[in-house]
Symmetry: none
Subunit: 197 residues, 4 copies
Amino acid sequence: MNVQLVMENLAEKKKAIFESTLQLIKENGFHGSPISLVAKNACCAAGTIYHYFDSKDTLIMELHSYVKSRLLEVLTNESESELDFKEQFTNRWVRICNFYIENPDILYFIEQFANSPYKDRGDINEEDKFKETVIAFYNRAMEKGVIKEMNQELIRTLVHSSIVTTAKMVLSGKITVSEADLMQMAGIMWKGLLIEK
Amino acid sequence: MNVQLVMENLAEKKKAIFESTLQLIKENGFHGSPISLVAKNACCAAGTIYHYFDSKDTLIMELHSYVKSRLLEVLTNESESELDFKEQFTNRWVRICNFYIENPDILYFIEQFANSPYKDRGDINEEDKFKETVIAFYNRAMEKGVIKEMNQELIRTLVHSSIVTTAKMVLSGKITVSEADLMQMAGIMWKGLLIEK
Amino acid sequence: MNVQLVMENLAEKKKAIFESTLQLIKENGFHGSPISLVAKNACCAAGTIYHYFDSKDTLIMELHSYVKSRLLEVLTNESESELDFKEQFTNRWVRICNFYIENPDILYFIEQFANSPYKDRGDINEEDKFKETVIAFYNRAMEKGVIKEMNQELIRTLVHSSIVTTAKMVLSGKITVSEADLMQMAGIMWKGLLIEK
Amino acid sequence: MNVQLVMENLAEKKKAIFESTLQLIKENGFHGSPISLVAKNACCAAGTIYHYFDSKDTLIMELHSYVKSRLLEVLTNESESELDFKEQFTNRWVRICNFYIENPDILYFIEQFANSPYKDRGDINEEDKFKETVIAFYNRAMEKGVIKEMNQELIRTLVHSSIVTTAKMVLSGKITVSEADLMQMAGIMWKGLLIEK
DNA sequence: AATGAATGAGGTTTCATTCAT
DNA sequence: CATGAATGAAACCTCATTCAT
């Protein structure tokens, strides 16, 4: 077996553990997701998890990074770099929202993580490409005078809330939305950010 | 000691346990809030807590009801029943936001609770006066043709997100707001709900 | 309230506690009979029980004495002192058996007590009139050459087993017995004790 | 280590826990046998016990099955299948009695178990080979017209009582018995079951 | 690398007992 | 006398983690 394959298998195993964890956390929360269950759900032994992660905390933190990297993939789309701000914003809003709808495990993990003491335990210097990418977008839009001067964190959180709320509504079956509906919702959010003229 | 006083003392103890729990959950999350700590923090023995609550779960659920009832007090304000929709909305938005800013324990508890398996464990038939009051308001506004026809849950969640996000920003020190700023934010949210003419 | 009445009330309370304890022990065993439940079942406060008994152990030991004294009452019957051994034996056997059938709580308490560490905790010098009465009977019968010379303890236990077993069968509904059947069973036991000629 | 050995070690551990439990229950009753003591006595950690048993109740119930299976071994003796009823009965009575005398832990456990709420907690459909074997014997004897038609449960309990009582007497030192004495006692019991001619 | 039995600290909960009222 | 809130030791049980295989 060559190095490449080993690496892939390793990645496979890690991914299985990640998916197992996501699923359990969605269903039972951090509380109800002991390593023993994570292991069983990932078809491996508890000890195996400690080959890949130093501790349960490490597992959670790395899972968070993994989830963020997947979100970054969804966010990024080279082909659209030439679009105007509104179209980029709308496309991104819809893509992330659809991603959450298709990956509810990730949505609930992100939400639980953000409201847990884990969120403050991360390496303070750890870069967050997702966050940086979003901030860069708003910075450019502000510099160009397209959107209001507002606190970055505030905008990001409000916009993200709108995505999360929409995805949760869809997942709970309380509303059904077409692609056009999502575009429209994104449009409303964008309008809120625009400089009023 | 008469009955009234006994009742008050009883309430006092329960309240002390509630406050202790809120504080610990804010600091350490559900995880990091064992009964032993809750007890020490409330200046009582662990066993005492089981005098008032059947289990830790019950404590959390009753704490949630307690918090909701305090929020309801903040929401309700008889004197303003004659104001127009916008003023009522704005006043309520600001009052709740200020309440969260002054009671961060409650803010963080509400958020953690909403993103935990606890939220689905409540009595399905338990009434939620807070929710009902808010829904009644939007219903009236829709009937009068003041705001758009939208899914109730969606509006409520989005508006609540905006309050929570703002309060968190203030608490984290990332922004400082005057009363006027809050009024303005509430105004922006209201504008988003209006029927466009 | 005169002294007599006070004494009676005191006795009443103690008796209520005894009955409550018997009932709970029958249903849940020693395990499942905490003082709090005993109190509730006896319509008094937990603290009250400690006015009458030094400790839970004391309660159990005194309950045992109480039960033994009630058994003694059943055993003793002055009017029959002139009967022959067989008739006395048979009458007593049947009376005790009927008593157990009518007081299952007591039957199960006696049985559980006898198979618990409590049985060795009693005051070693405490007299047991019930036991003494039974032994006296067998002694007289042996002296008269009516029954075999056997270990007292052995006879007593075997005869008591036969009573308990019969009562349990009746209580479980596995058999139904007439008074005559009981007389017959007692007769069989007596035959086993007789000197074979 | 091969599978066979692993299985044996597993059995070893479970057996050690069983023996530890039996010993403690004999000395202190169910009450005085907390898991912590059972563990210490079995030279393992408390947690280990929960590796093998779901709960303390499960441990007790499985211990009961284990004890019953050991009794079944003692009861069963292929070589004697050709003996007549009386000899089979006598041999079995003596074997079980000797087993209790040599294994007082088991005797006291059986007795305490039978007089505890545990006895009603077992799986209702769980087979009890010991019981079945005994019943089969009495059935055959009844069919052949050797012993009286009596309630099965009644016979079984009375005979078992006689064994238990005898074993307890011996263990308490109140009587000493030779093998011949035991044979004689068994014979007396058998005589009681015979159809009188 | 993978396993899963074993550990034991620590969590939730129970309950005999006390004591101020 | 009676109460029942309060106590805290100790029970049961969980689970992150280790380690021999």
